[in-house]
């Protein structure tokens, strides 16, 4: 008992000292370098940046992989630091990896709409991947709204289609995203006035909307940092995720207007009435092997909002996996390294030859 008391006291004192010392270090040190895997920018169009990562193996799978990032956030969540990078993981497993990433749209990009994002940016990226790889087959892997764009493209191009379609935490029933629905209530939210006045949907407005899904989240997160300042791994991970989650992008005005009206207000994807530049999006005609990975504790894209997608996709070979974790920890961090990435590799590897 005495030993236990002394151990406990010693541990508490040591942690207090470490908190103080490392707290000073935290203030003085620079942020970790993220998204540093070697790559070329092979296509730059409006806010789109298409990266081609340098292979890390002597031979790669025949079918290249195109990651499509969510339009509100930066793609380095897929490429944090060595050992915690999905891109690096896929490269080491022998994939030829591309990523459609986003820069902040500029004022003159205000008129970019859903058609531009789906056909020009996703479609254009696929065409560039095909040209550079010399392969007509491409696997499409989308995250959140990147998943929506991927599904929309596949639903418009089901004849050519992707070779494989995998999406993570992708919403389809937007009426089940109750807080977003409430925040953009058609009776009170004048999206036309916002877009016509500002041109772009401001990043700080979007960040506030995401923060409001967990009103205490930011305070609790800072407390956790203070509590764990003695733990280098925790601090490193916190800095990476904190930087990424605050590094939000504005959205092109027309794209935001169409997303709000078609997807959120009309719930068109769920209702089967979604059109892009007048063409119907036919999810039931998608025939590519399909994988949807969702997170059990996703507070942004809830299970109710994402789960119906699998039923709408026409593919005979389709699978939904629900993994432990949240919206971000599903795709990055220790949870993803141990759970999601190996599952994706197992599913995709066999279909990439």
């Amino acid at each position: 008992m005495a030993t236990s008391f002394l151990d406990s006291a010693q541990s508490a004192v040591e942690r207090s000292i470490q908190r103080s010392l490392k707290g000073l270090g935290y203030m003085a040190s620079s942020a970790p370098v993220l998204g540093a895997s070697a790559k070329d920018v092979v296509l730059s169009r409006g806010p789109l940046r298409l990266y081609h990562y340098h292979p890390l193996t002597d031979e790669v799978y025949r079918v290249p992989v195109l990651l499509v990032m969510a339009t509100t956030n930066r793609g380095y969540i897929f490429d944090m630091i060595p050992g915690q990078s999905l891109v690096e993981f896929l490269l080491l497993r022998g994939y030829d990896v591309f990523m459609a990433d986003w820069e902040a749209p500029r004022a003159e990009d205000r008129a970019l709409g859903m058609k531009d994002y789906v056909e020009d940016f996703v479609g254009g990226s696929i065409a560039e991947v095909q040209r550079l790889s010399g392969e007509s087959d491409v696997s499409l892997v989308g995250y959140c709204m990147g998943g929506v764009l991927s599904v929309l493209w596949a639903g418009l191009n089901h004849v050519a289609g992707p070779k494989n379609l995998a999406v993570f935490t992708t919403p389809v029933d937007f009426h089940q995203m109750t807080l977003f629905k409430s925040m953009s209530d058609q009776r009170y939210f004048d999206v036309d006035r916002l877009v016509d006045t500002l041109g772009l949907a401001p990043a700080d407005m979007l960040l506030t909307a995401f923060d409001m899904l967990r009103p205490a989240g930011r305070v609790a997160s800072n407390f956790q940092l203070l509590d764990n300042l003695w733990d280098d791994d925790f601090v490193k991970a916190h800095r990476m995720f904190d930087r990424w989650s605050n590094d939000m992008l504005p959205l092109a005005g027309e794209y935001f207007r169409e997303t709000t009206k078609q997807l959120v207000w009309d719930n068109a994807l769920m209702a089967g009435t979604m059109k892009v530049s007048g063409q119907p999006v036919e999810l039931d005609k998608i025939s590519a092997p399909f994988l949807h990975v969702t997170a059990e504790h996703d507070h942004i894209v809830t299970t109710a909002a994402s789960a119906p997608l699998i039923g709408l996709i026409g593919s005979a070979d389709k699978e939904q996996i629900v993994l432990k974790g949240g919206h971000v920890s599903l795709i990055a961090g220790p949870n993803a390294v141990n759970r999601m990435w190996p599952r994706l590799d197992t599913w995709l590897g066999a279909k990439s030859v």
Binding site: M1, S4, F5, D7, S8, A9, S11, A12, R15, S16, S44, R45, G46, H54, P55, T57, D58, E59, V60, Y61, R62, G94, D96, R106, A107, E108, D109, S133, E135, T178, L179, S182, M183, D185, R187, Y188, F189, D190, R193, L194, T197, L198, G199, M205, M212, L213, R214, P215, A216, G217, V219, A220, F223, L226, D227, G349, A350, S352, V353
Partner: protein, 118 residues
Amino acid sequence: MTDGPNLDPFGLARTWMAQWEKLVNEHGTELLAKPEAARAMQALSGAAVQLKAVNDAASGKLLAAANLPSRADFEALGARLGAIEASLARIEQALREVAPDTVPKRPAVARTRQPPSA
């Protein structure tokens, strides 16, 4: 057998914070889901948008009086530059199609990999 005394000064705060976070998140999201909250939020953001529109118009007039370019002028300039960039990209693309790449390429890797179980 019981655990030793908890001497961690953060122990109590940790428990309190976890309860506070749960409470605020639960009640906060409940509150935000109400139509009244949505109406109040949108009234505030609508006012902010309106204020910005008025401010933009007033500052545009001031800048014009001072013979200085406005934000709209810079945006138009940006649009012109964007159009020039797009033209350059099209020219580069056309050149790539008719001429071999001038930059040295990395050696191509064989696309022959098989899954581990194969």
